[in-house]
Symmetry: C3
Subunit: 413 residues, 3 copies
């Protein structure tokens, strides 16, 4: 172990139970590089939905740190992901963030690639040149129910193993027959771990998110606001949940909870929970906002929350889904992309309107942006000392422990 | 001594008498960090005046490097200074640069603090949680004649010892019964030492400051322009001073000079000097600009210049005071804050107008901003070599020597 | 050899023949600093033309990295180059990028220098002060046919030796009797070597430069597009060249080619080549765009391309010249300055118009800016791997080899 790793190793070991991380984790550039290489790059992260590129040749690009990934639909209707780097001199190939192409032609020297990434034409090359050696470099990719997952590792963990426990939760909502209704990107001046600390606790919901507290009950927020057991149990909510579970069983819909029971590369969670006060959807009024999706024949009065990894979240009512992607950019900058999905037969203006389905999480994410940025500023002080976590920050503590173990593991191998 | 310190130590020893500093002192980031930790943080620096926050709950924030300090008046009418860092997760508590608050409530999770910094309420904490352990972290503070001094060191030097020689000079002007008439902040793209080099000599006054040369006599500028003995003696000015001293003694006002006679943490100076040509105040016309302040019953035709530390200056006519604060931000950025004080009974538009009292130092500081920025650009050249100082740069040489000794001391302990 | 040098040395040795450079050469800051110190600073680089400062006291400044150079015409009509650094405290002396001055007066303390750089006046200096010790620091300079060459090295290579092989090519065009018709500066977000890689091959001309391909023939572009033998030979073009050479000999004008035949500090090339299709000048129409320059009595249907160093290029029709200067700013930023020269008797609006003479290289450089910037983005990817060069990138390969040898030499001394 070199000196730098030894120092980080010691720092990891000195972190206190039930306190947030020390300053260095939120500001240090070397730790950030390790985060990207060993934490982010080892996860399956969804970065879009197939409905964004419905036609052959449709593409979009995703930018993560210094990487740009092309996501494109080929002539076999297969979606491919490529590093946006020409094999000749390295130029970006796709300059626009989305569009439609018949071939991938590098704008520099016109090396052209088929939509499956194979090199189609490179003029004036030498006699020894073999086209088959110079296909675009693929990025690991898997599609599940229309969600496009990528993995930047050279040895990705098994996607099948990864998706297995989440399958019934996702499948229920018919995302494979959905379409993107809206997309928004929020640029946060803060370390990705401050953004995820924020996302893993609902202690701040009452002071900071009036919209969220309007939609969700006090009891739910207390015990499940940032996921199952993110806060103390609520007898009230447990009763509500028990009754609702029975109702859902009667309706014949899937329900339940999933969480990791031992440390691994995975950091997944899922649960189905009821709304209160007769609400049917995660909207301001509580009334449905679009056509029923997936297996639902009627509104069951609940919704589904899934965390496939720390970098994604799916929050799904019966009639629309809010999808979160967290993309670390630098040690002090993070992008949060939100994508709202509705049934692909739903018609804007008739079955749904954008404002209604995006209202809650747009407002909430804008507030989180402000909160995270103010947190980053304070954490830079020499007088910042981690303080004791509340009973409602169990989710943060859990995420922190997973993060520290993951980082330690990457150093010790 | 580690390698880096050894290198800085050798560099300090190689600096030449009567020449400015080598390039490295003005550009190096490691030296900048040492400057903040060992030079700036060891000084008592005034960062405002009590009249800026007259009512209970009034506050403002001050930003120095990565630190933000809250200055707030509590219910006992006491002014407190706190690091703007919540004890829970470290968020900034005050987001606005000034305002009025009944409690200090962190916008993140609503931990609320009393105006004396004690933690009032933190919901959902564990059984072992003791509120008294989590008060806001105080910043060392002292108030003298309404000036709010802070000290970022964990072991600040004695304020009483610090202020003692300056007391009669400051007291004379009744700043404790003053109010802020105007405040302006100038952002300088230059190292703080280039800003202070500029402030410690008046060799540049003739070419660069026509306004200053209009108000002050050639003889004064030569020998006292940047403080007592900042340039060669002037028999003419000495005569003027001698006569004026007699007059002031007759009037019964305090007068005299103070300067350090041996090296210490302190770098203070003070002197009372006459205007020439019948001028009564540091205004364009030389005519009074506001009500008499402090002990003055009539204009004595002189004014008072005080340097409590390199980071502050007070330049006081009988009827208003100009207060300077230099705040280093990065190795190449410095803020200069100017605050003009008048008697708290003076009424704007009747007793004084802002333009008249701020004219000289606003114009002069704008010119200094340009000068310092052009100096920084040239100092970055590989061909920059310190040149010989003139007879009018004794003040700069003195400041440089104090700086070098202070830095050396911090390395050698 | 220290560790860093050893690492760079190993990296140099691992570069593959007929592949572009590894990522590190295009992004690393330490390599960039070595590039400036050992590659750029060892070259004679022209940074302007005497006609830009026709009158005594006329000046302009040039900025390279942290350096600013003053180029000024003195009272003996001699052009001098000085580092823009006052010998006193180091301030920039010339703040504007061009103008006219009777003396060089530092705006800080009014030290004044004669136009030959000698110190004229510095007030209030000590008794030991000798004005003759404090002249402005000269920058090595030579003028040839009106082109002002500077060299930032302390031990510049011989200018006479440098210019010798290029003399007849340049002299032919009478640049000494020319004037600047237009100047434009293009700021490129890319490493200087990516900018020069681009300039040393015409493989990208067909896909990226429709204007260039409109003006020049396919055969010329193939074999000479980025200089002699920058691509495969063309029998067609060789025939054209042979016939044209004969014609030029008959007209009595100089013609021929020059290229380096062994490795040295120099990296020069020159050639005279014909246009095709009856074109007479490098304009859209092919028709003359201004008065004949230099020795030309009639249009000879060809033009002259000269690379005095990697940082300059001269592309000269019989009636106007396009002059290129590449100025590295940071590891990821480069300025390209273009200057178009016409005969000094030519009158704008009558003999020439700016749009016509600047059209080709303005359009082409704007396209190159885009190309280089997209290249830089892709090169930052962890998946960037140098790909095989085409037969039309011989010029790039040659430049790369010269660069690697030059860098290696600087490390090994």
């Amino acid at each position: 172990m070199n000196n730098i790793d030894q120092e980080i190793f010691n720092l990891i070991n000195s972190q206190k139970k039930n306190f947030p991380l020390d300053q260095k984790f939120y500001v240090d550039n070397i730790i950030f590089e390790k985060d990207i290489e060993h934490i982010f790059s080892n996860q399956w992260v969804f970065i879009g939905h197939v409905s964004r590129i419905p036609n052959i040749g449709d593409y979009f690009t995703v930018s993560i740190g210094n990487e740009s990934i092309i996501v494109i639909r080929d002539k076999q209707n297969k979606i491919n992901c490529f590093y946006n780097v020409c094999r000749h001199r390295g130029s970006h190939i796709c300059i626009e963030s989305e569009g439609n192409l018949r071939k991938l032609i590098c704008p520099y020297h016109a090396w052209s690639y088929n939509l499956d990434g194979s090199l189609k034409k490179a003029s004036m090359m030498g006699e020894d040149f073999k086209k088959e050696d110079w296909s675009l470099i693929k990025c690991n990719k898997n599609i599940f129910e229309g969600l496009i997952f990528i993995n930047l590792s050279d040895k990705p963990i098994s996607f099948a193993e990864f998706i297995k426990p989440l399958e019934p939760f996702i499948s229920l909502h018919g995302l494979g027959k959905a379409k993107v209704a809206i997309r928004k990107v929020y640029e946060i001046e803060g370390n990705w771990k401050l953004a995820l600390d924020n996302f893993h606790e609902c202690y701040h919901c009452h002071p900071s998110h009036p919209e969220y507290c309007e939609v969700h009950s006090k009891d739910y927020i207390q015990s499940y606001g940032a996921g199952s057991h993110s806060g103390p149990e609520s007898a009230e909510f447990n009763k509500l949940l028990k009754n609702w579970n029975k109702k859902v069983d009667d309706l014949g819909y899937f329900r339940g909870e999933y969480s990791e029971n031992k440390f691994s590369n995975f950091y997944r969670s899922a649960e189905r929970t009821p709304f209160s006060n007769g609400r049917l959807s995660e909207t301001r009024s509580g009334k449905p906002a679009s056509k029923l999706m997936g297996n639902f024949k009627e509104f069951d009065g609940g919704y589904t929350t899934i965390g496939p990894s720390p970098f994604n979240s799916l929050i799904m009512s019966n009639d629309f889904a809010t999808c979160f992607t967290f993309l670390p950019k630098t040690n002090k900058k993070t992008l949060i992309e939100l994508m709202w999905l509705v049934d692909n037969n739903a018609i804007e203006g008739i079955d749904y309107n954008k404002e209604e389905i995006s209202w809650l999480w747009d407002e909430t994410t804008l507030a989180d942006k402000r909160i995270i940025e103010d947190n980053q500023k304070g954490v830079l002080s020499k007088k910042y000392v981690p303080g004791p976590l509340s009973k409602m920050e169990l989710g943060l503590e859990k995420f922190k422990n997973w993060y520290l173990k993951s980082l330690k593991k990457s150093i010790c191998v």
